[in-house]
């Protein structure tokens, strides 16, 4: 095989890889760019140097190379990781990268990059479910198993069926196989946008199996506004007092 043939093989291989990537990664045409109002607490996780990282969903999207509106996988993997942490760790306890492993079943780059970013590459394993492919997804692709390696505890969950609109996966398969009509493409873009929005706004117990409502409340702790307001008031009062004292002293002189 001469150099020219090797070069041609490489080019063809890269085209194949690119086309696979296009099938999996591409955001469908016509999706809504504007996101709903959402408030998601950051994921708190120690890095290997024991610095506590606060990873927001925006950080995750930015670090993995996409805008948040362009992807369903990033919101899904962010929410499922946050939920798993709340199930496996108590109160002020936070995981360390390298300690929490995930087995996931979704072959998208969005899932892979997100889990790699949040939990590190060595801790993420992709297992494709039988009867699914990159073009053909089922609910089985949205099953997750998180393993806390220091204690051996396991949290298994899956996205609830109600999160995806009826016929979502059939429509997706048609769109990805280039067999969908323009109407079906438009419908899929709408369903896709709705699903993405659900991962941003819905409660964890509505999104994932095996999460109790009370646990969700504990997960999303109310921000300590009273404590903050008290400290801020003391700070402002102290500053005013200092200024008054300085003024009185200056006047006395």
């Amino acid at each position: 095989m001469n150099r020219r043939n090797i070069f041609l093989v490489l080019v063809l291989m890269s085209f194949c890889i690119a086309s696979f990537a296009a099938v999996i990664e591409a955001t469908p045409d016509g999706v809504r760019e504007e996101l709903p109002e959402y408030k998601l607490e950051p994921i708190l996780i120690y890095d290997e140097g024991r610095d506590l990282l606060k990873i927001t969903i925006e950080d995750l999207a930015e670090s993995t190379g996409e805008e948040l509106w362009e992807c369903v996988c990033r919101p899904c993997s962010f929410r499922v990781t946050k939920t798993a942490i709340s199930q496996l760790y108590e109160g002020e306890e936070h995981p360390t990268q390298g300690e929490l492993k995930v087995i996931y079943h979704h072959p998208s780059g969005g899932h892979r990059l997100s889990f790699n970013y949040l939990l590190t590459e060595d801790c993420c394993t992709l297992e494709m479910p039988a009867g699914t492919s990159r073009k053909k997804f089922t609910m089985e692709n949205y099953c997750y198993e998180f393993i806390r390696t220091d204690t051996g505890e396991i949290f298994k969950t899956r996205v609830k069926a109600q999160v995806f609109p009826e016929g979502f996966f059939v429509l997706r398969e048609k769109v990805k196989s280039e067999m969908a009509t323009p109407d079906e493409k438009a419908e899929f873009a709408k369903q896709w946008s709705d699903t993405r929005d659900k991962f941003l706004v819905m409660n964890s117990y509505d999104l994932f199996e095996g999460v109790e409502e009370a646990e969700e409340e504990a997960e999303e702790e109310a921000p300590n506004v009273v404590g903050g307001a008290t400290f801020f008031s003391i700070l402002v009062a102290g500053l005013i007092l200092l200024l008054i004292m300085m003024y009185i002293r200056r006047k006395a002189r």
Partner: protein, 154 residues
């Protein structure tokens, strides 16, 4: 009164010393600690360098408590307080700068987000700050005494 101030700054010095040592130990350990509203940072700057400064503040306080009414001694106490103000000032400045921007989605923070930034837990220097301000009372008292002495001499 002299005795009371010595006891006060002695206790403050011991607490500052303990906080400084705790800061350094936590930094060496590499894992931040949080007890209720107290948080001991573990990063090299705030935990390591900051811990060293708090430790020095404690040493200054302890060095200044003997014969505290003497000007050189009170200046040591003042020095201890200044060191605490530097670290606490940095912490408060960090809070202020963190509280204003809204992150990726907006230029400015929400009221809730703004106030949340000032919520506990706090680093040890913040707890030492109000107690270190007592030194002003003694400085002003000293100033009054000096002025009175000068007046009497005139």
């Amino acid at each position: 009164m002299k005795r009371l101030s010595s006891i006060y700054f002695g206790i403050l010095g011991v607490i500052a010393l303990a906080f400084g040592i705790a800061d350094l130990l936590v930094t060496i350990g590499g894992s931040g600690l949080s007890f209720g509203i107290l948080e001991i940072p573990c990063d090299a700057f705030r935990g390591g360098w900051g811990g060293l400064i708090i430790l020095s503040a404690g040493l200054f306080y302890l060095a200044g408590i003997k014969n505290i009414s003497e000007i050189h001694q009170i200046s040591k106490v003042m020095m201890g307080s200044i060191l605490i103000w530097i670290i606490a000032g940095l912490d408060i400045f960090a809070m202020i700068t963190e509280s204003i921007p809204g992150g990726d989605r907006s230029w400015f923070n929400t009221l809730e987000g703004f106030l949340e930034t000032y919520a506990p837990p706090y680093a040890p220097a913040i707890f030492l700050l109000p107690f270190s301000l007592v030194v002003f009372y003694y400085i002003l008292k000293k100033e009054r005494n000096i002025l009175k002495k000068e007046k009497d001499e005139e």
